[in-house]
């Protein structure tokens, strides 16, 4: 396992070019092309803002401007959920590579996560646009923690992606199961609602068990709220980070164990 992990570092170039290929191929042939990477989150944001700020009249003063608040949680969530959905099918759709070429299979789910991360970064540009538009800026002192959250989310997502992708080879229904589970998970995470609402506090212990809760809250505290992050969610985020590293290692271990069955089962 450790040897394979070390070998993974040598595949940097391969991962890099596969991510680039993924991004290029995705919008090849569409008229707006790469512009979709901006349009997609923008449309999503407009819909959610319309529903939650105007239809449902969410008037909590603390979460204003609501569109910026929601975007802080929605962007990382989109990265997370799209990565998992893509990664879970990545070994099957890349079956040709695994069966016919000597190819490090773990590259495939990792590429899924990374290419969605690029979309996440592009989405951040829109977030910046909204911040400028609404005049609501984050606290610059907190921003140094932003890369930390991103890295923790990356490690966490890759770990989950490795587990899901290797199991999906044997149990194809994981993909369908996952799509439903992610919808549930989305609503169970304070992204479109505020995590300090009294009704949330009631279930605090349950929310604490939700790993994405810590991520989304961290994003919101760093990018939206002005209270210092060091006094906020940082401690829990670090615990979550340690857990993510553990999850990654566990995921890699499982993937490595099932590796030899891929070429025959996909």
């Amino acid at each position: 396992m450790w040897r394979n992990l070390a070998r993974l570092a040598r595949y940097r170039g391969l991962i890099q070019s596969l991510v680039a290929r993924e991004l290029k191929a995705r919008y090849r042939g569409s008229i707006l092309g790469f512009f979709w990477s901006f349009v997609n989150p923008l449309l999503l944001l407009s819909i959610y803002t319309f529903v939650f700020a105007y239809i449902l009249q969410n008037n909590d003063e603390k979460t204003k401007p609501y569109s910026v608040f929601m975007f802080c949680g929605l962007l990382p969530w989109t990265w997370f959920s799209a990565s998992l959905l893509e990664a879970s099918g990545s070994l099957i759709s890349g079956g040709n590579l695994i069966k016919k070429v000597l190819f490090p299979a773990e590259v495939l789910p990792i590429v899924s996560v990374l290419s969605n991360m690029v979309h996440f970064f592009l989405g951040l540009l829109i977030l910046v646009g909204f911040m400028i538009g609404t005049g609501h800026y984050p606290d610059p002192g907190d921003l140094i923690f932003f890369p930390l959250v991103v890295i923790i989310q990356l490690v966490f997502t890759v770990g989950l992606a490795l587990i899901l992708s290797s199991l999906t080879v044997h149990f194809r229904d994981i993909r369908d199961l996952l799509a439903n589970l992610l919808t549930f998970w989305f609503f169970a995470t304070p992204i479109i609602y505020f995590y300090r609402m009294p009704s949330v506090a009631h279930f605090q212990w349950l929310f604490n068990l939700n790993p994405f809760f810590h991520l989304s809250v961290s994003y919101q505290e760093i990018l939206f709220f002005h209270d210092p992050f060091t006094g906020g969610h940082l401690k829990l985020l670090l615990i979550m980070g340690a857990a993510s590293v553990f999850l990654f290692l566990a995921g890699y271990w499982l993937f490595d164990r099932l590796r030899d069955s891929f070429a025959e089962a996909v």
Partner: protein
């Protein structure tokens, strides 16, 4: 002596078939706590059994064998795509496997980008690809189309590009799995030239192919796999010869069993005659291609044997060999009006030759009890193919005693792939300003 470039020692590969997996869902696996059990194999299939061989660096090895004999599995093991169930595979040197050409091409992006990504997958660095890029594209004959998305390529273009990338990886060991059928004649020659160049430069080539001629003239050594076991190894001519003999033996068995089946199905002659009634009908009947057996049964053909010149019964002959066809007949009561006849057909039931004792002016006198009738053909001058036989005994005006229609099959083998039915004895002579390279 140098250490071998490829070494398999006591390699066994068992494929696990996850039977019923389509119904074993995660839900049931979790509910019945059978997750770990479901990850265990249900059925197994032994693709290779205790196979050992070593390939010295710089040699070219041909792997031959029937479909499903484990050739491709052996290649995948050497390539490292699958792992042996037991035994060890060791490989010294950079490998390029031409197993699936263009695996990993992405249809939406251009040929150019795919060459880079494919090259990186095969272990080249970006700079190395840059250096060889023009050569790759030129070899694939795709200079005009290299910037078009790969999805617009024809399958031939696709494979040529895949081949070209794989071969320009500059491996020390090249694994080739039956990929020479990727292009037109010209491209195939280019590939062979490329292989020859590899050979000259002292690279090791492991070639899986059904083209025995290629193995004979191109390989230094051949390995013959049969149902996962190594049956032969060594001088390609000898191994290919042994393999061909075995294939013939199998064909022989197959034809014998087919014949037995056909005869069992047709059974005893049907007493009331359905077949040719008069001599005139007999000719028309020659072109009718339904197998069967009919006749009054007054004289029975109890056995038909096809024999080679050594008198051994066989179903496989070689072009130009003698053949003997022996009918064993039995007449319940003595008869005085009888004709023995024989017709030879090709697989499309076209009559090649037909004769009988009446046509050839034998005058029947008497037949009683058991008798043997043998027709000897000095040289079976037919091209390769499957042939069928009619045998009959009937009266002079054509009423059959026992008529066996297309019940006997034999195969003619030839080293040459000439076409048609009949192969006249012939020779070529050349005079003047014409020269050939010596025959392979």
């Amino acid at each position: 002596m140098k250490p071998p470039a490829i070494e398999l020692s006591h390699v066994t590969k068992i494929y696990r078939r996850y039977g019923g997996r389509h119904f074993a869902t995660l839900k049931s696996a979790l509910l019945q706590r059978s997750l770990m059990r479901d990850l265990q194999p249900r059925e197994t299939f032994q693709a290779l059994e205790d196979v050992s061989f070593a390939v010295t660096p710089g040699s070219t090895i041909g792997v031959i064998g029937r479909n499903g004999s484990g050739k491709s599995t052996a290649l995948k093991l050497v390539a490292g795509i699958t792992k042996p169930t037991s035994g060890t595979v060791s490989v010294r040197g950079r490998i390029s496997a031409l197993i699936e050409l263009g695996a990993g091409f992405h249809p939406e992006i251009s040929g150019r980008e795919n060459v880079f990504i494919n090259g990186i997958m095969l272990g080249l660095s970006k700079r190395e690809i840059q250096k060889r890029f023009d050569e790759i594209v030129e070899f694939a004959e795709l200079t005009e189309f290299i910037d078009a998305p790969v999805k617009t390529y024809s399958s031939g273009m696709y494979m040529r590009l895949g081949f070209s990338v794989a071969i320009h990886v500059d491996p020390e060991i090249l694994l080739v799995d039956e990929v020479l059928a990727v292009g037109d004649e010209g491209f195939t020659h280019k590939c062979l030239d490329k292989f020859a160049e590899f050979k000259r430069r002292g690279k090791t080539i492991l070639l899986v192919t059904h083209s025995l001629g290629l193995v004979e003239r191109f390989c230094d050594e051949a390995i013959w796999l049969d149902s996962g076991r190594k049956r032969g190894e060594g001088d390609p001519k000898r191994v290919v010869g042994a393999y061909m003999t075995d294939v013939e033996r199998q064909e022989e068995q197959f034809l014998a069993s087919e014949d037995a089946k056909a005869q069992a199905e047709s059974g005893q002659p049907v007493p009331s005659v359905e077949g040719p009634q008069a001599a005139g009908d007999a000719a028309a009947d020659m072109t009718r291609a339904t197998e069967g057996r009919w006749g009054s049964g007054g004289v029975m053909i109890t056995d038909v044997a096809l024999m080679n010149d050594q008198g051994q019964t066989t179903h496989v002959f070689h072009t130009g060999e003698p053949i003997r066809i022996r009918l064993r007949v039995h007449a319940e009561r003595p008869v005085e009006d009888f004709v023995f006849g024989l017709g030879l057909y090709n697989a499309e039931a076209v009559c090649i030759y037909g004769t009988n004792t009446d046509i050839e002016e034998f005058e029947a006198a008497s037949l009683s009890g058991d008798a043997d009738v043998t027709l000897e053909i000095d040289a079976l001058d037919l091209v390769e193919g499957t042939y069928k036989l009619d045998v009959a005994v009937h009266t002079r005006d054509g009423a059959p005693y026992d008529y066996h229609r297309l019940l006997y099959t034999f195969r003619v083998k030839s080293r040459l792939k000439d076409v048609g039915i009949y192969r006249p004895r012939h020779r070529w002579t050349f005079a003047g300003q014409v020269k050939f390279k010596s025959k392979i």
